[in-house]
């Protein structure tokens, strides 16, 4: 108990202090500059605090931080879900939707298939399909925050490529979270919720959706009438922790359940902008908490983790570039941009970290440590290389493509 309290205190202290003092521009080369600008250094702080070194945030302590996990994961899920307002999405060209779906599908398949084989070779007894599905789902996602940062730092003029990258970055995460929610349900070992041993995975997916829709309706009911700022926060925190708690309690994905809640609330009549704005203001502390926690559970020393991380990076980069290429070719008749748009979609940031933590909590695979190590390492490398590649793409695009 003592260690949990001290661990929690240190975690909150660093994140609240950190979010004011970090995300700063350091005069360094592009990769290293973005490393600090995105707060990736907090992964290493977490690593130092974890059981590999100091031990304040060891695994037992992390296990006790359930409410914090459900709050953080739920936060990310809700934020992404709330952006999925069909009315707003329709304002963009239809080609953008097709491009997002094609790009995500190609990347997913390109990463899922080899990892299914690889994981089966490592441990045939493990839930290889669920784990590979989860890895493929993480690979799909792009960090919209990072893209926004890079676009801002590059100071490039608005072009079709910029719009497309930002659009894909915002919405391929929805696809990733959905696949991830299904993956967590596949790894479920408990009896199905309806008690009938028929299509248990679908039953768990259905349960996730029902809980998510219920929470979305509740959020809508409570926030539609104007309420004071502190009331609004009571509702938001209450719903996120409740939905997250239900998810963790039944072994579902808090990211997916809260995303469904966000999508539901976003598409019911009435204003949800206040909820989104309130949530968006608190992004950095949540992000830092997850970076630290991810660092704390990270076991970078495993050779297998390093090999898998390398494989994952290669497959994901190729998958993204190929996915972008196929997507641009598919929409060529309606919209013209550089076919190498995939180079602008490599950054992952907080999205991948949140998914890695959700996977860690799912506890459904014996390969959890290796997979989390792989995903965290990949995020670090991605944050170093993706800004340079995105900047090059955007600079090229700014000179006249699209």
């Amino acid at each position: 108990m003592l260690q949990t309290i001290v661990g929690l205190f240190i975690l909150l202290f660093i994140s609240l202090l950190g979010y004011r003092k970090t995300f700063v521009r350091v005069p360094l080369p592009a990769g290293a500059k973005f490393f600090f600008l995105t707060g990736t250094e907090f992964i290493f702080i977490g690593l130092a605090l974890g059981d590999q070194f100091i031990g304040v945030l060891d695994r037992t302590t992390i296990g006790h931080l359930g409410p914090l996990f459900s709050l953080g994961l739920g936060y990310f899920g809700l934020v992404f879900g709330l952006q999925f307002e069909i009315g707003k999405i329709r304002r963009f060209p239809r080609a953008f939707v097709s491009a997002t779906a094609i790009q995500a599908a190609v990347t997913f398949v390109w990463v899922f298939a080899p990892f299914l084989w690889l994981l089966y070779q490592i441990d045939p007894a493990a839930s290889t399909v669920g784990s590979a599905l989860a890895i493929g789902a993480v690979a799909c996602c792009t960090s919209p925050t990072m893209i926004a940062l890079i676009v801002k730092e590059s100071a490039c003029r608005p072009t079709g490529a910029v719009d497309l990258i930002r659009y894909i970055g915002g919405f391929d995460t929805i696809i990733g979270f959905t696949l991830f929610g299904a993956a967590v349900c596949m790894m479920h070992h408990a009896p199905p919720p309806l008690g009938i041993d028929y299509l248990p995975v679908l039953q768990w997916i259905g349960a996730s959706i029902v809980v998510g829709i219920g929470m979305g309706v509740l959020l809508h009911l409570l926030t539609q009438v104007h309420c004071a700022e502190d009331e609004l926060w009571v509702f938001i925190i209450g719903i996120i922790t409740f939905a997250g708690g239900v998810s963790l309690f039944f072994g579902l994905s808090p990211l997916f359940v809260n995303m469904v809640a966000g999508i539901t609330a976003a598409n019911l009549p009435g204003s949800k902008d206040r909820v989104f704005v309130a949530l968006a203001r608190q992004e950095k502390p949540f992000y830092i908490v997850f970076l630290i926690l991810a660092g704390a559970v990270w076991r970078p020393g495993t050779l297998l983790g390093l090999v898998l991380a390398f494989a994952y990076l290669v497959f994901r980069i190729v998958g993204k570039v190929l996915g972008g290429y196929v997507a641009v070719r598919a929409i060529a008749g309606e919209f013209s941009v550089s076919p190498w748009v995939g180079f602008g979609l490599l950054s992952q940031g907080g999205v991948a970290i949140a998914m890695a933590m959700d996977f860690y909590l799912s506890g459904g695979s014996p390969l959890i440590d290796v997979i989390v190590a792989m995903l965290v390492l990949a995020v670090i490398v991605n944050e170093l290389i993706s800004p340079e590649l995105t900047q090059r793409l955007l600079t090229g695009a700014g000179k006249g493509v699209a």
Partner: protein, 446 residues
């Protein structure tokens, strides 16, 4: 209607979760997370709904906690309630900071005479009344029936002292919700806070005397009494130091004050507990700093002896809504309804007797202190609520007197449970009647 629908949705969900397969929970804290979210929303909504019928919101928070707790629906089992105790202590520390900050030195000086009268009459009147009531009715109280005279005297004395205890947290919540301000509120808050400190010292005296009365070979434990005195003085001194530290932080940095306040409350609660354990384990000394008193002193110091008082109170106010919701809903979930079921009859008689003595003492002190008649009539309604300190003292009662202490504690806990339910309602009524309730305050979510 949206609030009612919202409440129904979340209760149905919680019911389904609880009635379901019992979860597949491999993560400690998942149930806590679920309960935390449920209490936050359900308690707030019920408080809001009850406020339509002129009930105080905290009654809704408490009732929601009672409903969700282990004795009614068991949505939140006992181990989860215990697991959420850290939040409870944290919330209490924040409320104590707020209560101390609400006391203005100028106001206290102005109403010093009335506050002193109030404290003196309440302490003497309620103690004497309950003491005599227990003596007179000892044959109707199961654990005192046929007990020897020293035991009856000891029990009467200790229950008399416990009946004096009040609930500053309930008082603060109602004042905050009603946005009450004025001489009646100032006097009432002053009396409540002073009595809550006094009761700790009086309880120590009562226990020492009772031990000496019950066992003729034991003398009044002077060391115990001195250590209680040191505890109180130590808590006040640490409170002053804490107040100074918070003021320094505000002047020097100022940013993220709510987080700093929560951190401060956490440190006070946590370290007073750890310090007590350390002394007990390594030196066999029972010494416990009172976090409530420390935080009240800190709040009082910041408000009255620094330039940042108003800023501090405003920032603290922003935290108040979730703090009150969590604290009072957890109070509700912890209310021992099993104890109430066992001893409801003597407990109810005690509640009626205590309310009568409180009202009479308050009326007398008001009249002698020169208060307007309506103040004197309503004052008694403001002091009914009980919680916090008195519940803690019940635990000591059980440990100090193994023969009858536990049974007495069950009865007192039952009395406190009833008082905690009716106290906020009567206090709000009193504030409405004296005209100091100015309407709903933003901080409690109105």
């Amino acid at each position: 209607m949206r609030r009612v629908a919202g409440l129904l949705v979340i209760v149905i969900f919680m019911g389904l979760v609880s009635a379901g397969v019992g979860g597949w929970c491999h993560l400690e804290g998942a149930r806590q997370s679920l309960s935390f979210g449920f209490l936050l929303i359900a308690a707030y909504l019920l408080g809001d709904i009850l406020s339509w019928f002129r009930f105080p919101k905290i009654t809704g928070y408490i009732v929601a906690g009672v409903f969700a707790g282990p004795y009614v629906s068991n949505f939140i089992p006992m181990d989860t309630v215990v697991g959420l105790k850290l939040l409870d202590s944290l919330a209490l520390a924040v409320i104590a900071l707020s209560a101390g900050g609400e006391l203005e030195l100028a106001g206290i000086k102005r109403r010093c005479r009335r506050i002193c009268w109030g404290v003196a009459f309440q302490v003497i009147g309620v103690f004497t009344g309950i003491f005599l009531l227990i003596l007179a009715g000892s044959q109707f109280i199961p654990f005192l029936k046929n007990a020897p005279a020293p035991v009856v005297l000891s029990a009467a004395g200790i229950i008399g002292v416990l009946s004096i205890a009040r609930s500053p947290s309930s008082a603060m919540a109602i004042i905050s919700e009603s946005k009450a301000k004025g001489p009646f509120t100032e006097t009432m808050l002053g009396v409540t806070l002073i009595i809550d400190v006094l009761v700790i010292a009086l309880f120590a005296v009562a226990v020492s005397v009772a031990l000496a009365v019950a066992q003729p070979d034991v003398r009044v434990d002077a060391v115990f009494l001195i250590s209680v005195g040191i505890e109180l003085i130590g808590s006040i001194l640490i409170g002053i130091a804490l107040g100074w530290a918070v003021d320094y932080y505000i002047t020097r940095f100022g940013a993220e004050l709510p987080v700093f306040i929560l951190g401060t409350a956490f440190l006070v609660t946590f370290f007073s507990d750890q310090f007590a354990r350390f002394l007990d384990t390594f030196y066999a000394i029972r010494f416990h700093l009172e976090p409530l008193l420390t935080c009240m002193t800190a709040g009082f110091f910041i408000r009255n002896f620094t330039k940042n008082g108003d800023f501090f109170i405003k920032r603290l106010d922003r935290l108040s809504l979730p703090v009150y919701i969590l604290f009072f809903s957890l109070v509700g979930a912890s209310l021992n309804l099993a104890a109430l079921r066992q001893t409801w009859m003597p407990a109810l008689l005690l509640v009626i007797g205590r309310s009568f003595f409180i009202w009479t003492s308050a009326w007398l002190s008001g009249r002698l202190g020169g208060d307007p008649p309506v103040f004197a009539q309503m004052a008694g309604f403001s002091y009914i609520a009980q919680a916090g300190v008195s519940l803690g003292l019940c635990g000591i009662l059980g440990r100090s007197f193994p023969d009858w202490g536990a049974a007495a504690a069950v009865m007192v806990v039952a009395m406190i449970s009833i008082n905690q339910l009716i106290g906020p309602v009567t206090f709000k009524y009193a504030l409405d009647r004296v005209g100091e309730a100015r309407g709903k305050r933003h901080a409690t979510g109105s």
